[in-house]
């Protein structure tokens, strides 16, 4: 099973080998409301940990998506451009944003596990 890690800004990264699939959590999509636009980075872009990597706009607000770890964008989910609502419907699956080739796997240790993230959410409500 793939290892999933979470940020305090509600991005997830699902790690498979040296690549991680990045998206936003179900909590994040719920807070945003209906997503109407997703702006994705170009493939090949190098991002630092915590740097702005994408933009998601909902009926409510536009928010930045930050790279959970440093690396190179190796794939983006083009399907979101014509169907941004997928982020609401299936954030953990078809609503993924980008795949990042992880530069430094040790950065993953600084992120939250599933259990940590669940208890983090409990502190927010």
């Amino acid at each position: 099973m793939a290892d999933i890690r979470y940020t305090k800004d509600h991005e997830y990264i699902r790690v498979e080998g040296d690549t991680g699939t990045v998206g936003i959590t179900s909590y994040a999509q719920e807070q945003l409301g209906d997503v109407v636009f997703v702006e994705l980075p170009s493939v090949g872009k190098k991002v630092d940990q915590g740097a702005e990597a994408a933009v998601v706009e909902s009926v409510k607000a536009a928010s930045e998506i930050y790279a959970p770890v440093a690396g190179e964008v190796v794939a983006v989910n083009d399907a979101l451009e014509s169907a941004p609502g997928t982020v609401n419907e299936d954030p953990a699956g078809a609503g993924w944003f980008m795949k990042i080739k992880i530069a430094d796997a040790s950065q993953l240790n600084g992120l939250m596990s599933e259990a940590d993230y669940t208890s983090y959410l409990a502190t927010l409500s």
Binding site: G33, V59, K60, G85
Partner: protein, 525 residues
């Protein structure tokens, strides 16, 4: 055709939409093309002689082609703009319940006064001796604003609410610089429920913004502010009544704590209309507060006219007000335009935020509103605005959910989308269905701290009959949503000239230039 949210963007083939007309017009609802599409390049509405031959002195900059403006006759031009105006929805056509926007009636008396030649036909650059009446009006308006707010001074120059915020915060920054604390006091506290302009204003002039969380009751608690106060805090920006339509009960304690920490208290006065004649911001410990003349004092806005955002200032900030300063010498008035002169009189203007003395036309309208209502009338307007909001709240509370419990509100009623869960209808769908019922939708998805927010501000302008119809229509919609009539919402607006437009794409990739259609002969190649 569906937009990217899966909602219809074009009229369908069913019902009324299936009736076709030759022209595309639908009785009184006429199709209105662009001027470029009506006009003809080769025609002109005015006959002008060919200019006499002359030698241009523009060198290589002489225009080589025509500029491509369409020619129209005077009636064609009139009809175009009148038809466009008829497509508009305005406070003059129906209830405009946009929360936080205060779309109140613009009394026609204001308009008559603003058109008096002594106000309408003057220019900011003409000699001050010839505009004494206008300056006198500004001086009297200043006195009324000071009286209503309990504040010692007012900067009249800002031209909108956010402009006023900027001017007030620049005065605060100037005061901090004067105290020699510019290097340390760099953070501005802003509650999560604030208008977006608050953090934007603070950031624009170089402050770092730190959010203050709201409690479960929708209010800011003094302990949460105290926990954040320190030598790095320059100011707090607080809206009262806040954007949830609630009065911040801790405001005096917050002001005291902020002052004890050596910081300033900026109050966003956008919702002053709820408390005029009831509460004086000066008594709450406010250092600066902008007043939206276009909301609280009924001057037209939202496409109907420019805003005007005078800022009242406390004794701690008055000296830093921007130029020009209005002075009274005996029976005459003068504008002090020079920093040197101001300094000689002990003032330290932070500079200038606009070229002239402010929004004169709006000053006249706001002052006409004040004089025609009087102090008691303005107090009643505030009371009626609060009463009307609570009437709507009471009329809908059994069907729609309130985020902070079933408690009285100030001038606007706030609902969330808890009650729409499991119906398949969103706040946006509900707002679109209101268009089919002939209403402008309420403010939606703001304040951000409330999920699927619907913020309804009826203002004091609406009669009981108008409120009753509005409440009855919203009850009918709410019951339809709960009964599973989802189509009424997901298909809405069904009866408007346009349906769901791709608002995101329009904002992201706006089409700002008209491009002539490709001629058929070329398109075929």
């Amino acid at each position: 055709m569906l937009n990217r949210q899966g909602r219809p963007s074009q009229a369908g083939d069913s019902g009324l939409h299936s009736i076709k007309t030759f022209t595309g017009n639908r009785a009184l609802e006429q199709v209105e093309p662009l001027l470029f599409e009506i006009g003809r390049l080769e025609a002109t509405g005015v006959d002008l002689d060919e200019p006499a031959a002359f030698t241009p002195r523009l060198g290589g900059l002489v225009r080589k082609d025509g500029i491509g403006l369409p020619g129209l006759s005077e009636p064609e031009t009139m009809r175009h703009f009148v038809r466009l105006s008829q497509k508009n929805y305005a406070i003059d056509t129906g209830i405009f319940p946009l929360g936080s926007c205060t779309m109140k009636h613009n009394p026609r008396l204001n308009e008559a006064m603003a058109r008096l030649p002594g106000f309408a036909d003057i220019h900011p650059l003409q000699p001050q001796s010839t505009v004494q009446g206008a300056l006198d009006l500004i001086a009297q308006l200043k006195d009324w604003l000071k009286e209503l707010t309990g504040m010692p001074d007012v900067d009249m120059t800002p031209k909108a609410g956010a402009h006023g915020e900027l001017s007030g915060m620049m005065a605060i920054k100037a005061a901090i610089i004067a105290k020699g604390e510019a290097a340390t006091r760099t953070v501005v506290l802003v509650p999560e429920s604030a208008h977006g302009t608050n953090p934007a204003t603070a950031a624009l002039i170089g402050f770092t913004v730190k959010p203050v969380p709201a409690r479960e009751n929708g209010l800011v608690h003094v302990d949460d502010v105290k926990a954040l106060l320190g030598p790095d805090i320059a100011a707090i920006m607080l809206t009262n009544p806040n954007t949830c339509g609630l009065f911040e009960k801790d405001i005096v304690a917050i002001a005291d704590a902020v002052h004890a920490a050596g910081a300033f208290f900026y109050c966003d006065g956008a919702n002053f209309n709820a408390i005029v004649g009831k509460v004086r911001p000066g008594d709450l410990g406010v250092d600066a507060m902008h007043i939206n003349l276009h909301k609280t004092f009924s001057t037209p806005h939202g496409g109907g006219g420019p805003g005007a955002g005078p800022v009242v200032l406390s004794d701690r900030l008055a000296a830093f007000a921007p130029l020009p300063l209005l002075e009274k010498n005996g029976n005459s008035f003068a504008l002090c335009e020079s920093e040197k002169t101001a300094e000689a009189r002990g003032a330290h203007p932070y500079g200038r935020i606009t070229a002239f003395q402010g929004q004169m036309g709006m000053f006249v309208r706001a002052f006409a509103y004040m004089l025609s209502h009087g102090a008691d009338g303005m107090r009643q307007a505030s009371e009626d605005a609060v009463l009307n909001a609570n009437y709507i709240r009471a009329g809908l509370r059994d069907l729609m959910s309130q985020p902070f419990g079933d408690k009285p509100c100030m001038h606007e009623a706030l609902f969330d989308d808890q009650w729409l869960k499991e119906t398949g209808v969103t706040t946006l769908d509900f707002a679109k269905a209101m268009i089919d019922e002939g209403f402008h939708p309420m403010t939606m998805y703001f304040p951000l701290v409330v999920h699927g927010a619907m913020l309804i501000e009826p203002t004091e302008s609406e009669s009981k009959a108008s409120l009753d119809l509005f409440v009855a229509a919203l009850r009918d919609l709410a019951m339809a949503a709960k009964a599973g009539d989802t189509e009424r919402f997901t298909q809405a607006p069904r009866l408007a000239p346009r349906r769901r437009l791709d608002e995101t794409l329009a904002a992201r990739k706006p089409v700002l230039k008209w491009v002539p259609p490709t001629p058929l002969s070329e398109a075929a190649e």
